[in-house]
């Protein structure tokens, strides 16, 4: 069961209102995306924690509805 790119983007945007989000559809099948998320919410968090925050934003759909998300996260440069 694929996920629409717009749904993926809004789930992340809802959880990270200040975020800059770039999403690429890697396969055109709604199942393989790359996402780069830049948000101040990641400040002081490890990479694992940052990614867990994004997975939490997807409300349990990561790995089930959405098969693959090549994810990179960053804190905005001050």
């Amino acid at each position: 069961m694929p996920m629409e790119q717009s749904v993926l983007e809004s789930l992340i945007a809802d959880a990270f209102p200040d975020a800059k989000i770039e999403i690429n559809d890697l396969a055109g099948d709604g199942d393989h995306y790359a996402a780069h998320v830049v948000s101040s919410a990641f400040k002081g968090k490890s990479r694992v924690q940052q990614h867990q925050m994004v997975y939490d934003a997807l409300k349990g759909q990561m790995g089930d509805v959405l098969h693959a998300l090549a994810l990179t996260t960053a804190v905005p440069q001050d």
């Binding site: 990479r47 694992v48 867990q52 990561m62 089930d64 090549a70 994810l71 990179t72």
Partner: protein
């Protein structure tokens, strides 16, 4: 296995091995692109690691996700600490922090095989 047994079994793999990769397939025959990418990295830098094929047991495949609070496979543990999945391990390899981690934790690897070499 019951969820308690799965957690105990997972904890034992992590405790008994300096480096453990929970993956789809085996280090010789990875059965998923993401799992394969991590085995390539670990094989390249010559780290000794235990490969756990989660496809052998659905309760392990699901149990590890809960255990680590991480929704996907592969998952890498080093000296009992969860490091992340494919994306993070690739980033760590590219920025050198993976080899630095092995250095700090006293995990042997082939020092000639670093990105800068």
């Amino acid at each position: 296995m019951s969820s308690q047994e799965v957690n105990d079994w997972i904890r034992k793999q992590i405790a008994n091995n300096d480096v453990v990769l929970f993956m789809k397939g085996t280090k010789k025959f990875p059965q998923c692109g993401f799992s394969g990418q991590i085995t390539q990295i670990l094989n390249y830098i010559g780290v000794d690691y235990a490969d756990v094929n989660v496809l052998d047991d659905m309760s392990v495949r699901e149990g590890i996700k809960e255990f680590s609070n991480w929704p996907t496979i592969p998952q890498l543990y080093v000296k009992g600490e969860f490091q992340g999945g494919c994306d993070i391990v690739k980033e760590m390899f590219q920025d050198g922090s993976l080899m630095q981690l092995f250095e700090e934790k006293g995990v042997a690897y082939d020092k000639s095989k670093t990105m800068s070499a």
